[in-house]
Amino acid sequence: MIVLIGVSMLIFAIARVIPGDPARIALGPNATAEQVADLREKLHLNAPVVVQYGIFLRDLFHGDLGQSLYTNRAVTTDIAQFLPATLELVFVSGFMMIVLGLPLGVLSARYRGRWIDTAIRLVSLLGVSAPSFVWAVIFMLLFAFYLPIFPIAGQISDTIKLPAVTGFVMIDALIAGNLAAFFDALRHIILPAFSLALAGIGQAARLTRSSMVETYEKPFIEMARSYGFMESRIASHFALRPSLIPSLTVIGLDFAALLANAFLVEQVFAWPGLSRYGVQVILRKDLNAIVGTVLVISAMFLIVNIVVDLLIAFINPRIRLSQRPA
């Protein structure tokens, strides 16, 4: 909570050091001095900074992030329109990160020193070594142009019309009972989500491997072996669980990277998410919209980290069984 207040202050501070008059920028060079003065009054730009921050906080608690000077709509409306597409991408990507990254790390640790370990380590290192937009461009070239397996861009084919219920296209398709639309959306999301996830997959695999290698040297693994448990069961039941804790922490942190890198991947695949909006408002110095976008992204990131902390508390018996609230 303290952190969230701090975040709001920091973002507010960044937004207020803009050189130049935001009212003037918003109205354009042809506006009269009177119009500019009016808008300054309306935006409370003449008030002291502390008062401005107070007004900002008050509006924030009323769910009001102000008007975007770029779209002339409430910032919350804009964000509500663009956020679901970004979230859909980030969630699919996060899902890939977990279901691919963790098992790869487990495999790598189990076959430590063998060729499969070397291969996985090399691939995960390559994954973290290029920004997501480079992977996006390369995958697009390979799997959309040369081998046209996946569509080139967009979230869903233009011909398909869906009623917007949740704003999440794939969920909307399921609600509408339109399986064709669902699979169409699925095909559209695979390339962007995978390019976005690759760095996280590499990171998760590397970390899972190193913590599992450490766990494998603990006495209780030897005990399990001497009891005659199968190697696969030792890997999945005994060695994995304590290793999950650092991996989950990193996945939580990587979620931040996903949210930010979604900006890059969305640009490549013309994904209708927050990216274009975010970049546009930054280029146009649209105060309220910048503050709103950064605040929403940070809040999402904090929520994910709280969820991760709770999950860790659940997995770690030392926390789960202690009286102290986690």
């Binding site: 303290i2 920091l10 973290v128 480079v134 110095k285």
Partner: protein
Amino acid sequence: MRRALFILLRNPLSLIGIILVAVVVLSALSADFLTPFPADRGAAVHFELANQPPDWPHIFGTDLVGRDLFSRIIFAYRISLFLGVVVLAIAVPVGVTIGLVAGYFGGWIEFLLMRITDVFLSIPPLVLAMSIMGVLAPTLTNGMLAVTAMWWPWYTRLVYNLARSEKEEGYVLAAEIIGASKPHILFREILPNCVPAILTKMTLDMGFVILIVSSLSFLGLGVQPPTPDLGSMVAEGAGYMPDSWWLTVFPGLAILFAVFGFNLLGDALRELLGVEQ
């Protein structure tokens, strides 16, 4: 020292890392002599050569106004490395000092400093840099400022955790008893024990600074044309796929090449210095 070198050279992955980093650094330093068309680093225009596929003498092809892509990539390395060095030269001392102070003194100092660090850590780095870049004019200096602003908290966190466990060690107590000054304890006693971890992270971070800077300029918020930059080259070429594939593929692979090298080297250092992740 000789033993360390031997260990580094024995592992093929470390060896590859050293070679990649050496190639990147040396080519960036000697860009003026090495590149076939050093004049193409700036706003040169040769429309008669525009958009040529890779061929001799333009081994990576030419861009939309006919500049040699290979020369521009090498000069882009120079700028990326320069940015990386400057960012780390500012962010590491700042972050390390704050981390040492917070970890050693504890109490309300720790609370205050670490909450501020948490605030910076809870905004996704790229988004933080983007908003700073957006607010200021997108120039090279502001780019460094933005990336530095998001980089120091990671060192604070790293050193904070190390300092907190180090201060329980006997040697710190001994220094306190003989009445060593606080700065002496912080920088001469505790800091040397944190150096392996800091050094490893710095090597890895050279790669990640290159990555973040290229991401910013990919969005048009970083290094501005005509200064060559790997990220903006990819962005510029992305609209001309698949026909002019070389415009995006070579700058993209150049990023991969450099960052991969720093990552391999960082991993090797980590193993050599016995740093835990």
